[in-house]
């Protein structure tokens, strides 16, 4: 039982990270109707930037500067490479974001250098043990941060003028424009938010361990998360993140027991299934619900 609960705590921690990245994807999707494949690069750059800054200005200062810095970077990218493409086919834009991803990721990798770097977080690999259940500090921190960010996003979309404008634009862009909403600002803010969220997720994904230049792969797990939650559902992204996180941690932990060839109906597999669990869960859910758990079903008019 303690092993099970330990896995659930790990899942909540990594699920918070997935949820943060997924929120970024959903915010961009809601504003422009595209998926930005540049999120992995922003995630890696966030962690790298914080690791460069934290020795001089401390972790918290570096975190603040890093998140804002990547948000500004995302804003710039949107202005230069995405804005001219508004209205073009979404897949052309998607491939452009992949090109951007390659560029930004290479530059971030260059700053990473040869030796592993740390983000310099105060949690490390420290943990509490409560009745045999191991609770890592960094997972609690990630969960708390995710909760604060979600609350802030909720208030932002609910009460600020630009938040309201974004919601209006996502419902009906033309109607919103007619009401005086500057759609350009909406695009810019959504990219900045997504960039900042990715950077934040990157820092938490890198807590307690050296940043490797393959850290960005974490962001790809957010893709099944947003499918699971529904592409246009912020709440779905959060819940999807936790579901995927916990499922992945449980599969990783129990893989050896389940797939050793001793359990009937299950094959013998030496390679841990944890890394592909998110995609398997996605397939299973989509067989039942083609628009995810909370996505809006398209209404068809001929």
């Amino acid at each position: 039982m303690s092993e099970f609960l330990t896995a659930v705590v790990v899942g909540l921690g990594s699920g918070s990270i997935y949820a943060l990245v997924a929120l970024g994807f959903v915010i961009i999707y809601k504003s422009m109707g595209v998926i930005s494949f540049a999120q992995p690069a922003f995630l890696l750059s966030g962690a790298v930037l914080v690791s460069l800054l934290s020795p001089s200005i401390g972790f918290w200062g570096a975190l603040a500067v890093g998140v804002v810095g990547i948000a500004v970077l995302a804003l710039g990218v949107e202005r230069v490479a995405i804005r001219p493409m508004v209205g073009k086919a979404v897949f052309v834009i998607a491939i452009i974001t992949i090109g951007i991803d390659i560029v930004v990721r290479t530059v971030a990798g260059a700053f990473l250098g040869v030796n592993p770097r740390y983000v310099g977080d105060p949690w490390g690999l420290g943990s509490w043990t409560v009745g045999g259940v191991v609770i890592q500090h960094r997972h609690v921190a990630a969960l708390a941060t995710a909760a604060v960010v979600m609350l802030a996003l909720f208030l932002f979309f609910r009460f600020t003028p630009i938040g309201l404008a974004m919601r209006a634009a996502s419902l009906d862009q033309e109607a919103a424009m007619a009401q005086g909403v500057n759609v350009g600002t909406v695009f810019a803010v959504s990219w900045a938010l997504a960039g900042g969220l990715a950077a934040l997720a990157g820092v938490f994904a890198a807590t307690g361990e050296p940043i490797s230049n393959t850290l960005w792969i974490v962001a790809l797990v957010a893709l099944p998360v947003i499918i699971l939650g529904g592409l246009d559902s912020l709440g779905g992204a959060v819940l999807g993140g936790f579901i995927i996180g916990i499922a992945q941690a449980l599969v990783s932990t129990y893989h050896r027991d389940l797939f050793s060839g001793d359990v009937a109906f299950l094959p013998e597999l030496t390679n841990n299934l944890g890394p592909v669990t998110p995609f398997i869960v996605m397939f299973l859910v989509l067989m039942v619900r083609p628009y995810g758990l909370f996505g809006t079903k398209e209404v068809e008019r001929v």
Binding site: Y29, V34, I35, A81, P84, M85, K88, A89, V90, F91, V92, A94, I95, I96, I98, G99, I100, D101, I102, V103, T106, V107, G109, A110, F111, G113, V114, L220, L223, P224, I226, I227, L231, L269, T270, N271, L273, P275, V276, F279, I280, M282, F283, L286, M287, P290, Y291, G292, E298, E300, R301, V302
Partner: protein, 371 residues
């Protein structure tokens, strides 16, 4: 003189739907293709082997890109799972042709058409299996789900080491033996020349087949599904049926591409069929131009040559360090250039190389008037 003869005496005027949908619907196209093929066939006598290797890879990739264009450009179903089908084709063909005594699975059928077809059919079978789920989804949902296919595929390729040799190890690719001559060995012609000609012939065959398919009833049904699947359904074109056909044919092309892709290397590892390869195929289709066969070929050639192009461009920037540990160095610049060129192409010509060609053609057609 009847109207009909008057019409016929005017060149390049379609006098019937059949003619417009012809394989080569203008004479210029027919002549142009002939000239291009002639030039392409003569290239191996003129160009160095390392470039031939790149061009040959480009032609194999073009077969796969045509496949993706059938499902994406013509039938409107975006798939990021193409690399998975390419992988299936690569493994099926190398297993069929493989040495039965070898370390990895092999059935010893060395007859080339047999293993190429086996690669295509195995991938097509996987396409049929996946299609029922895929046909329920649209747009970005479909894209991400097919992306999941790539991740699960990579897991299977890594785990099934009896077939694939496992990660970092790999297995032998099929050997192309034609009339007793192993095309991967130099004889009176170098292996690059021989493989180039082989790939050129296969590309022509598969490009013509695809072009024939898209001008047939099936191709028009694809377009109807792409443009509005509900409307297509109302008109009696069953969307699920045609999506299934599109997926199957596209997977077949991917499988054929996979069966040939590593022939020149003779060996391939299990990590090759990841996200990057899928993305490259989508880039080929979009950079070439969606829903054009010739665009797919141009796109594939460009993506195959892009590492070399970015490397040559970087050579001009002599102020950049060549030391591997200084930043920025030429290697990073090359990688950045690769991404930047993709962005630049799509920013300035969203309709792809085909669109560029189209503009040039229209410009010369109406020269000196710019409209």
């Amino acid at each position: 003189m009847s109207t009909r003869t008057i019409l016929q005496s005017r060149p390049e005027l379609y006098t019937g739907y059949g003619r417009e949908m012809g394989l080569f619907n203008t004479r210029a196209k027919w002549i142009g293709v002939l000239a291009l093929v002639a030039v392409a066939a003569a290239l191996p006598m003129l160009v160095a082997d390392d470039l031939l290797r790149i061009l040959g890879t480009g032609m194999v990739l073009a077969i796969g890109a045509i496949g993706l264009n059938l499902v994406t450009g013509y039938a409107g179903q975006i798939s990021l799972g193409h690399a998975f089908f390419v992988g299936v084709g690569a493994y099926a063909s190398s297993a069929v042709a493989g040495d039965p005594e070898g370390r990895t699975l092999g059935f010893g059928v060395t007859f080339m058409p047999a293993w190429i077809l086996a690669g295509g059919l195995a991938a097509a079978l996987c396409g049929v299996i996946v299609a029922p789920l895929a046909t329920r989804l649209r747009g970005l949902y479909l894209a991400i789900v097919t992306l999941g296919l790539v991740f699960i595929g990579t897991y299977i390729f890594n785990a099934w080491s009896d077939l694939t040799g496992g990660p970092g190890v790999g297995r032998e690719a099929a050997r192309p033996i034609l009339l007793g001559d192993d095309l991967t060995r130099d004889s009176s012609y170098t292996s690059e020349q021989k493989l180039y000609w082989l790939f050129l012939v296969l590309l022509l065959v598969f490009a013509l087949l695809a072009r024939n398919l898209v001008r047939s009833q099936v191709g028009r049904a694809f377009a109807a599904v792409r443009d509005r699947d509900v409307a297509a359904g109302v008109m009696g074109v069953n969307p699920s049926r045609y999506k299934l056909i599109a997926f199957t044919v596209s997977s077949f092309y991917a499988g054929v591409c996979g069966s040939l892709l590593y022939v020149a290397n003779r060996h391939f590892g299990a990590e090759q069929f990841g996200l990057l390869l899928s993305i490259q195929f989508v880039a080929m289709v979009l950079i070439g131009g969606a829903a054009t066969i010739s665009g797919s070929i141009m796109g594939a050639m460009l993506i195959a040559a892009l590492p070399r192009i970015s490397s040559e461009l970087t050579n001009y920037a002599t102020f950049i360090s060549t030391s591997p540990v200084e930043h920025p160095n030429v290697f990073e610049t090359e990688a950045v250039m690769y991404g930047a060129l993709i962005v630049a192409f799509l920013l300035f010509e969203p309709r792809g190389l085909f669109g560029l060609w189209h503009r040039i053609r229209t410009y010369w057609k109406s020269f000196p008037f710019s409209y």
